[in-house]
């Protein structure tokens, strides 16, 4: 376990160094997110009153939905793009030759990325609230576990895409499609089979915490269990797909080819 902790520290340190060394670029990403929200917000104000989906019926809904979408995007894209970047820059093989299983390397990298995403999401939420003038009462103790479950769920999607990337190398256009599909899932009403879609049920519970003011302990245990099961199921499914793809790439001798 000490070696895993050491690996985690090294991955975190590397991410921090890169964030700091390329600060201008890092900030550019956050500013872009903020500007995109402003555009959505202005658009919403322009068509206020029009009917929208569940999360989009209020500014609070848009705000929560937007931050959730950002987290979803970060979680699934980080896995796939991490693998793609390592392959592109010719370091993927080195990670595979570590004493840890590559799954650990990429998994721990995702935890590092998740911390980063949550930090960015917090800063973003603050500025979004400042802009909209809607100050959400956020029960962090209730919100954080649900956010983590959402991140786990989307990381599963990321692992599956990362696996496909190992085989097909360029899947950027499909990544774009997944991005829009995830917007739909995050905003979709959590009814019937739709609640089983990645991110939908978690987003529904998060919406209840933020907009409805409900605490984690006020949820029915079945609802919480469902959130846990859905997240773990997608993670497991994603990892299984990744492992199958990895095995195929290793058999075909194309691991790391880009």
């Amino acid at each position: 376990m000490a070696k895993k902790w050491l690996l985690f520290k090294q991955l975190a340190k590397k991410s921090w160094i890169e964030f700091r060394r390329y600060f201008f670029n890092s900030m550019g990403g956050i500013i872009t997110l903020y500007v995109v929200f402003l555009v959505i917000f202005m658009g919403y104000k322009g068509i206020a009153g029009a009917a929208g989906p569940d999360l989009g019926t209020s500014i609070e809904g848009i705000l929560v939905g937007y931050v959730l979408w950002f987290l979803a995007l970060s979680a699934y894209q980080d896995v796939a793009y991490s693998i793609q970047n390592e392959a592109r820059q010719g370091t993927l093989e080195q990670l595979y030759m570590s004493v840890h299983n590559f799954g650990w390397v990429i998994g721990l990298q995702q935890i590092v990325n998740a911390f980063y995403s949550l930090l960015v999401a917090s800063v973003l939420t603050f500025f979004l609230m400042l802009t909209t003038g809607k100050w959400l009462t956020i029960d962090m103790l209730s919100l954080l576990p649900l956010l983590i479950l959402e991140l786990i769920c989307f990381a599963g999607v990321g692992f599956a895409l990362g696996g496909l990337m190992l085989i097909f190398k360029r899947i950027d256009s499909y990544m774009q499609i997944v991005q829009f599909v995830l917007i739909f899932f995050v905003a979709a009403p959590a009814k019937s089979f739709m609640k089983l879609m990645p991110g939908t049920w978690g987003a529904h519970l998060i919406q209840k915490v933020i907009n409805g003011g409900e605490g984690l302990l006020e949820f029915a245990w079945q609802d919480l269990l469902l959130a846990v099961v859905i997240s773990l199921a997608y993670l497991l499914l994603g990892v299984v797909i990744y492992r199958i793809c990895e095995r195929k790439a290793m058999q075909a001798g194309t691991l790391g080819h880009y």
């Binding site: 050491l6 390329y22 093989e93 004493v99 840890h100 691991l255």
Partner: protein, 327 residues
């Protein structure tokens, strides 16, 4: 026989190509590497070198056979096996260009389970050993190609692996940097007791640094022996006489009677090459040239180089020759 650091047994790999015949990249290869030796794997393009190296690294899954690194199966006991091996692969950066020299060494040490703080002295040692001291705080992207390659080898060393695989370590480097790296490789094996397994197309590198070589052709090992033994196998005692100007027709005819002798005109001079099967033929040539007072510009013993040995072995193999030699 010393204990092996690497044992490869009956390794085979076939690639299935869509709408084409399967390609047998590696065909039942077995080899061993011992602590402290520099072993070269040679072969033409597509011979199966890279596939073999990548299978040893655990990056390509073999169809059959097994690979033991320090006694650990590199697929079944992957983590344990990976503790003992590191590699610098050709065509890859192998290092992070956004990190500095020191940060790269620290990161990859961590990746192999070593706490960078605990091995700070080792990191400093390798920074000095590879002559990277003045560049230790520069990002790898700002280093020259040679420096980047040195850093990649330093990273492979810092992990503490007993087996270091280097795929074309001097490719694309200038003469001076190539020489530096060759000298460093010798030191790595001699002073640090590491086993270096390298592939190279540069026969000067192979002849200079490898004690033993394995030559692969069409996925099979066609020769496996010490460099000195292979050189002996192809050694021919040949002498090259360079005579000033052209020789008389009489002299040419007389020389032509001597077995294993060839004549050629080069830059207004005459070059006589004699394969010395019998010593007396040497004296006969000198005698004939002396009889006409031919002015000799030089007499040199012809040395065979490893490139000729390699081509010779490859030629014999392609002409249906048998396996050349085996330890």
């Amino acid at each position: 026989m010393a204990e092996t650091i690497l044992t490869v047994e009956n390794l085979s790999k076939t690639y299935n190509v869509r709408k084409s015949k399967p390609i047998k990249a590696v065909d039942c290869i077995s080899l061993e590497a011992y602590p402290g030796e520099i072993l070269g794997i040679l072969g033409s393009n597509g011979a199966g070198k890279t596939t073999t190296v990548k299978m040893i690294c655990g990056l390509i899954r073999p169809d059959s056979g097994r690979i033991l690194i320090n006694g650990k199966d590199n697929f079944k006991q992957r983590s344990a096996a990976m503790e003992h091996i590191s590699a610098v692969l050709e065509g890859n950066r192998n290092i992070y260009w956004r990190l500095t020299v020191r940060e790269n060494l620290e990161f990859f040490a961590g990746l192999k389970g070593k706490d960078p703080r605990a091995i700070k002295k080792e990191i400093d040692y390798y920074i000095d050993f590879f002559g990277l001291g003045t560049k230790k705080n520069e990002t790898a992207s700002k280093l020259s190609r040679g420096m980047q390659q040195k850093l990649a080898i330093a990273v492979a060393m810092i992990t503490g692996s007993e087996l270091v695989l280097l795929d074309e370590p001097t490719l694309g480097l200038d003469v001076k940097t190539s020489y530096d790296i060759r000298e460093l490789l010798k030191q790595i094996a001699a002073e640090n007791g590491r086993t270096v397994l390298l592939t190279s197309h540069d026969m000067n590198v192979v002849q200079d640094v490898c004690e033993r070589v394995i030559i692969i052709n069409n996925g099979r090992i066609i020769a496996q022996d010490k460099v000195s033994n292979l050189m002996r196998l192809f050694d021919v005692k040949a002498f090259k006489f360079v005579a000033e100007g052209s020789l008389s027709e009489n002299l040419k005819q007389a020389l032509a009677q001597i077995p294993h002798l060839s004549l050629a005109e080069e830059e207004m001079n005459t070059v006589i090459t004699l394969n010395l099967e019998e010593t007396r033929n040497f004296y006969r040539v000198v005698e004939l040239l002396g009889s006409e007072n031919v002015s000799l510009l030089s007499i040199n013993r012809q040395e065979i180089n490893f490139e000729q040995v390699f081509m010779g072995i490859l030629g014999r193999s392609e002409n249906g020759g048998e396996k050349m030699a085996a330890l």
